[in-house]
């Protein structure tokens, strides 16, 4: 058996197992992956993302698959070696909860404390967003524009302001992403009195055809009004371009996005999943 690192050159071998949406992240600076091969046949894999959080530098495993426990042990052994070099404080893994206990036991074997929980991610259809109460008002402030209607300089300056304020949304590598990473028509921005970007509502089109929110931020005082305005523009532009059953992935990854989701989509519920967490110790440290 051999464990090899995933790269842009070999990720296509794994995408059929991981799904194209996860696979497209290999190549980004904060994403890593591994695959296990036996006789050159795929037997398992891991894809994770490094993030700076309030608790320190953490690893979030976004995809895991192993044919058996031996493969799992080999994958996590290589994974642990790699993250040790990055000074990662803890690892979190989420997998869809299924009836079988096997995957949960495999994660426990790997040292994770595992609990069934509700996913942060919910998938809604465009038609549900069209029915939100805020869409009864269709007027868009002239301060709110699609990012396709602003200059690259304005966009980059807006990103710099967000990053300087500690706001990166779901993109740890936000500063490195080009404007083309986001849908130009439906992603929105909020302009301040000087015509500079002071708010962003950025959407990325996943390879599967689903849209995902990557950043939702406003740095102005009138945050609520600005965010609702950008959301309105997003829905109106989506209605012009996409069918009502177009799927949008919302990741309620922090309190602000959770509250917004609860307000706009009170019926939204994330699928049950197993979430595992473990503290990463440096070599030689004892877990006391």
């Amino acid at each position: 058996m051999k464990i090899i690192e995933l790269t842009k050159d070999n990720i296509s071998d794994v995408a059929v197992f991981s799904g194209v949406d996860i696979a497209e992240n290999i190549g980004r600076t904060n994403y890593r992956g591994l695959m296990a091969l036996e006789d050159n046949i795929f037997r398992g894999g891991l894809i994770w993302q490094y993030k700076n959080t309030d608790d320190g530098y953490e690893s979030f495993i976004e995809w895991f698959l192993a044919a058996n426990r031996e493969i799992s042990r080999a994958l996590f052994s290589s994974y642990t070696e790699m993250i040790e070099k990055e000074d990662v404080k803890s690892s979190t893994i989420t997998i869809p909860a299924i009836q079988s206990l096997e995957e949960k036991e495999i994660l426990k074997d790997a040292g994770f404390y595992v609990r069934i929980t509700e996913s942060d991610k919910i998938i809604v259809e465009l038609s549900e967003l069209s029915e939100m109460p805020i869409m009864m008002e269709r007027h868009i402030s002239r301060r709110i524009k699609s990012i396709g209607d602003i200059t690259v300089r304005q966009f980059k300056n807006g990103i710099e302001r967000c990053v300087a304020a500690g706001k990166k949304g779901l993109c740890e590598d936000l500063k490195e992403l080009p404007i083309s990473a986001f849908e130009p028509d439906v992603s929105a921005c909020y302009l301040d009195d000087e015509g500079e970007v002071a708010g962003l509502f950025l959407f990325h089109m996943l390879p599967s055809g689903m849209l995902t929110i990557e950043l939702m931020i406003c740095l102005e005082k009138d945050v609520g009004k600005a965010l609702m305005g950008m959301m309105r523009l997003f829905v109106i532009k989506m209605e012009e371009k996409y069918p009502p059953d177009t799927k949008i992935l919302l990741n309620r990854h922090n309190q602000a996005s959770l509250l917004l989701s609860e307000k706009l989509l009170p019926r939204g519920f994330g699928i049950p999943e197993y979430q595992g967490k473990r503290t990463e110790l440096k070599k030689g440290e004892a877990d006391v």
Binding site: I98, T117, I271
Partner: protein, 101 residues
């Protein structure tokens, strides 16, 4: 007056759900479940009367499942209508619930 009924039989908690488990009734259900969940190894929900279930209700079920899952206990649901089953299917709950026909 609540239409939720609870009965403890040995190490099992049997709960008969009311017509609706939504944001109004879910807090009471949660209180009823959580007040005894530490003392049992089995939670059984009777859904005969249940016709309406929202995300608030799903969260209570998930809480109960979390507690049972943590201690290696069990949780079942019986007499689940096709409509409620469709909600479980849409939300992914069908994969993790033990539904007795």
């Amino acid at each position: 007056m609540s239409d939720i009924k609870k009965e403890i039989v040995g190490s099992a908690m049997n709960i008969v759900l009311g017509k609706e488990v939504d944001s109004k009734t879910a807090p009471e259900l949660q209180e009823i479940v959580m007040s005894s969940v530490g003392d049992v190894s089995e939670v059984n929900f009777d859904c005969t009367n249940l016709v309406y279930l929202t995300s608030a209700g799903l969260r209570v079920l998930l809480l109960a499942l979390q507690e049972m899952d943590d201690k290696g206990g069990s949780m079942t649901l019986k007499n689940v209508s096709p409509y409620i089953k469709s909600i479980f299917k849409m939300t992914g709950f069908l994969n993790i619930l033990t539904i007795i026909d």
